[in-house]
Symmetry: D2
């Protein structure tokens, strides 16, 4: 059983089917085909306004390209200090932004508070030695599995406007947040001040399909050139667009995310029943961050269950992981099977019991 991430499974059936459908016949290359145009129009509907859409193949490319459109080489981009963009992309944003800097701020569960961002921005010296802040990047869902509420997003959007920053959302798990909040894509983005979005589909059923969705037109102006120049304009473009066709059809994308979140809740609730287990912070989407006894950790591993240990850097101030404990991350996906979740809980339960008995 693999709870290591939501990218350890393949593509979902509707996505594959759409690829097969789109594969026949000849069409213009490099995204100048009808399917690409059609899918872009679909994004307008989904976001209830005209948006600019750029397809890429990885979340890292989506984030780095998005930030490069908002931050000049001498600029600063504020993010959480555990953000994917600062921690997990081997410096892709710095590469695409040509040496611009990411400034990582702290925050519980890898979420940023608007006030903290505001205080930080106000603390920066007004001097030429200080790279000027040009963008804020947040992850919705956060790297701690938390979901920004609509008010929190609005507050961050207001800080961005006040300080003249562009507001970027890394939506690698966009739909997991969306169904968690039960709001519309528009409500969770541009209506709260988001200017540019990395819209992830790969983790939620795509084969390799991510989109940059731009709400502030100025940020879209050069993205085609930047994307081409980054080797991100796929020659058989219809085969990336088609993935979104299958993804959006019949609410498939929403169903996938709802399933993943439900599996996480099931997992989270089950774990909380066990003595000695607590959550680092609440389960709000498709990731669970329990602090568990090391003995349980061993039992889970012995049962062949795959997952990652996690950093305790973003625990609430009073909280800490004891020597006999470990903080882990369990991720569910559209493809997670309820029986696997229940099996994990059984393993955990008997692991705890056995240890208590010893």
């Amino acid at each position: 059983m693999n709870f290591a991430s939501d990218n350890i499974v393949g593509a979902s059936a509707p996505v594959l089917h759409a690829i097969l459908e789109a594969n026949a016949g000849t069409m213009a290359a490099y995204g100048n085909d009808e399917i690409s145009q059609c899918v872009k129009a679909r994004f307008n509907e989904i976001f209830e306004r005209e948006v600019s859409v750029f397809f890429v193949t990885t979340g890292t490319a989506a984030n780095a390209l998005a930030l490069s459109s908002a931050v000049p080489p001498y600029g600063l981009c504020v993010c959480h200090r555990e953000a994917h963009v600062i921690d997990d992309e081997c410096g892709a944003p710095e590469f695409f932004m040509h040496g611009a800097k990411l400034a990582g701020l702290p925050g519980v569960g890898a979420k940023l508070k608007a006030d903290d961002v505001d205080v930080y921005l106000k603390s920066l010296p007004k001097a030429v030695k200080q790279m000027p802040p040009k963008a804020l990047s947040i992850s919705q869902v956060s790297e701690g599995g938390l979901v920004y509420g609509l008010d929190e997003l609005a507050a961050l959007g207001a800080v961005c406007r006040e300080h003249g920053l562009s507001f970027h959302m890394d939506g690698a798990r966009f739909v997991n947040a969306l169904v968690s909040l039960g709001c519309t894509p528009a409500d969770m983005t541009w209506r709260r001040g988001v200017d540019i979005l990395s819209f992830g589909a790969t983790k939620n059923g795509g084969l390799m399909a991510e989109a940059i969705v731009v709400f502030k037109p100025a940020l879209a102006e050069a993205l085609d050139y930047r994307s081409k120049r980054a080797g991100q304009i796929i020659s058989k473009g219809r085969l990336i667009a088609a993935q979104f066709e299958g993804y959006f059809a019949d609410g498939h994308w929403l169903d996938n995310a709802r399933h993943a979140n439900r599996m996480a809740t099931l997992l989270s609730d089950g774990l909380l029943q066990l003595p000695g287990v607590r959550l680092a912070w609440p389960t709000q989407a498709n990731e669970v961050f329990p602090i568990i006894p090391k003995t349980l950790d061993q039992a889970l591993k012995a049962a062949g269950i795959l997952y990652h240990p996690w950093t305790d850097l973003s625990l609430p101030e009073a909280e800490h992981v004891a020597d006999h404990e470990v903080l882990i991350r369990l991720v569910t996906s559209w493809a997670s099977r309820e029986e696997d979740v229940r099996r994990l809980l059984e393993v955990a339960s008997s692991g705890i019991s056995r240890h208590a008995a010893e």
Copy 2:
């Protein structure tokens, strides 16, 4: 009928089938899966030695990453002045190489001569104002549809060694050249001095599948980091590796290229029968570059046949395109149908006749 390029069709059936096969179950992400490992081993067999392989999704990314491993930011990369890397990638090499420069030399049919490269390199001032040459990049097949012979490759390889350059081959149409020469991949690459190869599969049947194949180990050292940083490490890595599985199985890749080349020969031979039609240079792979009367050009277009006009910059010195003529490019692929080629020839033939009659 579309002869605009070889990327206007989808993926071939064996490639799609391999994706579907690989899609089931869970596997480690980011290329740490068994399929990726297996396919990399397959590359060793194909090239008859140990090679390093890096999967990417576009030819532009393959070229730009490959060059970035060979050319430092202050270096120079020599190529043909019509090379894809200098002309068609919106500066991707310059982006990935951090501002290194491409120097474009002339040559008939977009091929470089070893002597010309040698003379150019010797002409460069030995001064700090001169960016030092660090790599040679050629396209096999060339942008003019010509194939470098094994001796020509060896001569270029020798020039590279003499001047301390790395030797890069843009193999967007690698297999078309391979079957044209009837040699082995090893013979066409490292045995002639090639250090690093962009091994294209997309144009010849892949969905989005390109590989960087490295023969000079030093060039492979940091490519994983550079690729990650460029957003080119696909999370569901097995689904790019799988494409190569399908591609290599049962000689599928060779069959595809042989078919494409045969279609081009058919087309080329047919066109040469027509009065007023001549070739800019010979047809050697899957592209035909005829110089045709403008009246014929109009007839072809009127029949809905798609293709691109082409530059006459690399014609042989004595040759030129007259006012009433146009140089065009016709590209065939693994999916070109013989009936479409014959239909084009018919249209052309009757176009010529009609015009003669008028």
Copy 3:
């Protein structure tokens, strides 16, 4: 005797004197001092309008920073193919522009014609693979020692406006051109459409003192950050500003350039008296480009006279350098002594005679 360049002498006395004057006492660092402010105001007077001024220490830095403000990383900058920016700066513009590309066009005497630029710009494909042109850079004086006339500048300015390019002037020998034309700085720059200027002082008497002068305010917005980031904001800023104080005082800068140009004219006229000597193109500022017999070349060298051979790439079409000839460049400066010029002419004259006698 050294005619190799105009940077082989030290600083002029008024410049040195101004440094010594400014050296005493304490002042704010990094250009926040009164002298810097004062000199910047002086630039406003000189250019008859408000300009933004940024001090740097080399012409390469001035050019590269100026271009980086006008050309985004995915953009194209048009220049002459022998321009200093493309040929003599080890890729500084590409570094500062983060991989943007320089496109070098031909032109007699290293000058560009407005029509040629226009034709080139119109020939560029409107496609994402094509880096969009964003700036034109010319050298006034050109690398061939020619001076653009006011009409020629206006025509180039018009082409820039039509195509939406910023217009950069590399004024390493700005004042030599200025006194050659006998016009005002305003007439030779913004009144003809120039948007940003590398204003050189080092070659004409400075110690290390160059300024970027910006006429189009948008280009000045981030130059302070870019300059700091390039290590070009001098900590003891007053000591670079002071050089301009001494330079501008009492018409010293104009006198220096007039002297240099006069020496070049003297040299040029004298050489033209000699049999077998002709000019590659006219002498218009402080550089002379004679085509001389190789025997004369040997005689000059034997007399210990220093200068550089020059490329014949920008000769007029009908012209060429014969096997027994060589094209050389002789540069005069504010410090050239008339006696040295006359001595060179004597050496040349007797060299020619001796050879004729042999």
Copy 4:
């Protein structure tokens, strides 16, 4: 009275004199002159071995170029989180390193401990998402005015060797540290494992004169190109080299630093006599970091004394600045006058008394 920094004064008399001496006559440009060669040989003597030397005009350029030779674009450079390179250079290192990242660690008085660096390096994941560490950069004197002892340097050098990092020293105040330790330049650098040094002269008497001194030959290989490309190769190169001539002659550089340090000690000792004044950390070179009552701060400012407030981020753990206090930085230089220091102490003393009396 200005204690804001050591760059608020001009150049020292011997430095100016050397410039005037070197100014006469013609010499080869771009550092190919005898003075430059001579001064480079002098560096060999000073460092008791062959070193490579590159002259630049700012400390920012020296640091950024040095780091660019040690850290590839995908690499990581470890430094203190208050290091000049990370905090005060508007991202120059990131620009010159093409997007490589600086990782800032904590440490009292802006000094790094070898153990902390070691622990940090060991904590980095061995994964492609993690930029690999390639260099350590320290400031000697630290940004907190502290001097690394020889053992501390050796320990850091050992950590670098163990982890395969290049070891960079930002020596903007190199000589202040040198005379504080009373050791030789060799002892304080390569004998302790330092690979590359930013050797500052500007703050200690130069006009604009910094040098990069390279001990690990591989790091010097491309620095000429990088420097040219950064616009840092001065055309009248002898006039930057000459500054070092004057600087090194007759122990002038050492005298200057000794004076500056002595003035700081005088200042520091005097301040410590005052009630309510303590040092954030010891005074070891030419900077004093007292924590003073806000009332004293006001008195000093009222007397027209210039200096900067300072961050309390690097105070020892137990220490803190109270609400009624402020942490300030006072910098002395080769040009500081003892009478000014005594006058400051008098103002401070009477400020304290007056406040006590109120």
